[in-house]
C-alpha cells in the first residue's frame, strides 16, 4: 500500500461499560492518538551529546464528536465514564493496519458553544501495561 489518507476509516470500536464493543466511528468527527515512549537520560560524563534509552510504552487517544444520545452510540458509551471504572478495548483499523489497546477513559466533557454546537472530546490512556502494537 502506498501513501494513504485517513479517508474511508475502516474500524473504530470502543467498549461500553459492560465490555461490548460498539462500532461508533460515524459519531467521531476527528481523533488524535499517540504511542509515546518514556526516555531516560543516561549521558555519561565522557560524552559531549545526550545518550538516551527507551523506557515504558504508552498510548493515549482523544475522540471528538457531536453529542449523540441514540442507543449504543457515543453518549451511551461515554456517559458511564464518570460512574464506572472499567478497562475498555479501543480498536483502530485504518489503511489495513490494526491497533487495539485496553484503555481507561478519564472524562466525558461536553461543551455547548455560543454558536450552538454541543460536542465532546473524550480522553483515554493506556490501562493494562501492555505495549501498544500495530498489526
Amino acid at each position: 500500500m502506498a501513501k494513504s489518507s485517513g479517508l474511508g476509516w475502516s474500524t473504530l470500536t470502543v467498549d461500553d461499560a459492560s465490555g461490548t464493543p460498539q462500532a461508533i466511528k460515524n459519531d467521531f468527527t476527528n481523533l488524535q492518538f499517540a504511542t509515546p515512549r518514556a526516555v531516560q537520560d543516561v549521558t555519561g560524563i565522557d560524552k559531549s551529546a545526550i545518550e538516551r534509552i527507551l523506557l515504558l510504552a504508552d498510548f493515549s487517544i482523544t475522540l471528538n464528536g457531536p453529542h449523540d444520545p441514540a442507543a449504543n452510540q457515543s453518549h451511551a458509551v461515554f456517559s458511564t465514564v464518570p460512574s464506572t471504572s472499567v478497562n475498555r478495548t479501543v480498536t483502530i483499523v485504518v489503511n489495513g493496519k490494526t491497533l487495539a489497546n485496553e484503555t481507561l477513559f478519564t472524562d466525558y466533557p461536553l461543551t455547548r458553544s455560543a454558536a450552538g454546537e454541543f460536542t465532546y472530546a473524550v480522553p483515554g490512556v493506556l490501562a493494562d501495561g501492555t505495549v501498544p502494537t500495530w498489526s
Binding site: 464518570p82 471504572s85 481507561l104 501495561g129 505495549v131
Partner: protein
C-alpha cells in the same frame, strides 16, 4: 430570564442570570493512578475519584452575583 443558584454560603447565594451566559462546559473527570508493575513494558493505570465540574462562560461584561437568601425569597 431565569435566575440560577450555583453555590450557597451562610446567608448568601451565588447566582447568575441564564440570559447572561455565552456557553457551558461540563466535565465529569476521574483521577488516574499509575499502578505500573515492575514486569510491565507499558503503563498500567487505574481510575481513582470522580469529579464534576461545570464552567459557565459569561457574555462580555456579565458575571455571577452574590445576593442574600432573603432577597431571593422575596424575588
Amino acid at each position: 430570564m431565569a435566575l440560577m443558584c450555583v453555590y450557597e454560603h451562610g446567608d448568601n447565594v451565588l447566582t447568575y442570570d441564564t440570559d447572561d451566559v455565552e456557553s457551558y462546559e461540563v466535565h465529569t473527570q476521574g483521577d488516574v493512578l499509575d499502578v505500573t508493575r515492575p514486569e510491565d513494558a507499558g503503563i498500567r493505570r487505574e481510575l481513582g475519584q470522580a469529579h464534576l465540574q461545570l464552567t459557565v462562560h459569561f457574555k462580555p461584561g456579565k458575571r455571577a452575583l452574590w445576593i442574600e437568601k432573603r432577597e431571593l425569597n422575596h424575588g
